[in-house]
Symmetry: C2
Subunit: 229 residues, 2 copies
Amino acid sequence: MSERFHVAAPPADGRAVLTGDEARHLARVLRGRVGDHVVLFDGVGTHWPAEITAIGRDRIDLRTAAAVTEPAPAAPPLTLAVALPKGERQQWLVEKLTELGVSRLVPLVTTRGVAQPTAAALQRLGRTVIEACKQCGRDRLLAIGEPATLTTAITDQPAGSLLLLADPRGDACPAAPPAQPVLVLVGPEGGFTAEEIAAAEAAGARRVALARHVLRVETAAIAAAARFA
Amino acid sequence: MSERFHVAAPPADGRAVLTGDEARHLARVLRGRVGDHVVLFDGVGTHWPAEITAIGRDRIDLRTAAAVTEPAPAAPPLTLAVALPKGERQQWLVEKLTELGVSRLVPLVTTRGVAQPTAAALQRLGRTVIEACKQCGRDRLLAIGEPATLTTAITDQPAGSLLLLADPRGDACPAAPPAQPVLVLVGPEGGFTAEEIAAAEAAGARRVALARHVLRVETAAIAAAARFA
C-alpha cells in the first residue's frame, strides 16, 4: 500500500495541494521527492493516486490520477457514544474505533465521567482519526460528534436503530451485526448512574454485557466495534 | 468490588500471605491497614474474601473466609497466537486480551516478526496479566505460552479446534463463538509470508478477515478476542 495523505480540499483539474501536518509528514518525516507516488484521500470516501510535482516550504503540489471511490460499507452505520477515558487511553480508543470501521463517535457527557471533551481534545482526536485512516487504508474519516448527554445521543439516532447500553450485568450481547443502524452507549469508569440507566431504558435501550468480566471504558467500546462495525 | 490481590500460594487454615509486588501495592500504594478487607485470588479460578491481620516490611498477613470458585467459562477456550508488537502496544494487547477473557496467548515466532519474546519481556507481560485480572475481576490468569512457530502453535491445539488465520483478504469471519476450541493466528505488521500462510492452510487453518480495513497486530488480536472469547 502506498503512503496515504489526507487532503482538506479534493483535487481540481488533476492537481492537489498538501499543507500543514500532511505536508510536513510527507516532506520531513518521509522525505518525499518530486516524482514519488502517494495516495490522497478526502475523508469522505474517495482516494486518488498522485505524484509529487513540487515541494515547497509548507506545501506540496501533486498531479492526481482518476478518483477511486471506496465502496459504501455493507453494514449499517455503528455509532458509539462513550464517556471518554483520559489521556492515552482516549487516543487508543479513537485509533482502534477508526481501524475497526466505526462510523461515528459521540463523546458522552455523564454524571461520573472524568474527561471533559474540550475543543482542544476533540481537535487532537481528529488528528488521531486521520493518522489511523492513513495507516489502515480507510477513506472515510470516523466522524466525531459534539459532546452529548445520553438522552441526546439516543434522540440523535435514526428511527428504528438498535440501542444498546454496555453493562456487565446486562443480557447476552447479539452475536452478529444487526440489519439496522446501531448505537452503543458506554459509560465512564464509575458506571452510569441508576438514573442514567433508567432514562436510557425508557428511551428504548437494552442493557447488554460485552464480556464476562468488567471492561475498561476503551475495551468495552472496542469490543462493541469488533462485533458490530 | 473490593481491591483484589494475587496470591502465589492458596490460603491454608484460613491464613494467607502477600509478598513482593502485591504486598507493596497493598501496603504502600493503597496504604492498607490492619482490619481492612480485600479479596485474594489464586489465578486458577478461586478467590477468598480476606482481612489484613499484620503488615510487615515486605509481607502482609491475612485471615481468609470461605473460598469462592469462579464458574468455568461457558465458551470453549480461545487461544491467540500473535506475532507480538513492540513496546506499549504489547502491554496493551495483553491487558485487553485478559479483560476480554482469552484463555491463552502464544507469542508467535514469524519470519517478519519484530519483537523478540525474551524471558524478561514475558515476565513483564505476566505482571500485566495479574494487574488486568485484579482490575477486571478475573480469577483465572491469561496463560502465556512458550514462543512458538505457526506450525507448532497449530499442532499444540486440541484436535477438532477451529483454526483461523487473520488476513485482510480472507473470507468473512464467523460471527458467533463456535462450539469448539478456537485458535486465531495473527501475523506481524509486515504480514505472514506466502510460505507461512501455505503451511497454516495445509494444517487446516482458514483465512478470515476481521474487519474491512488493515488492522494493526494488536487490533486484530483484540477484535478476535471480542468475537470469540
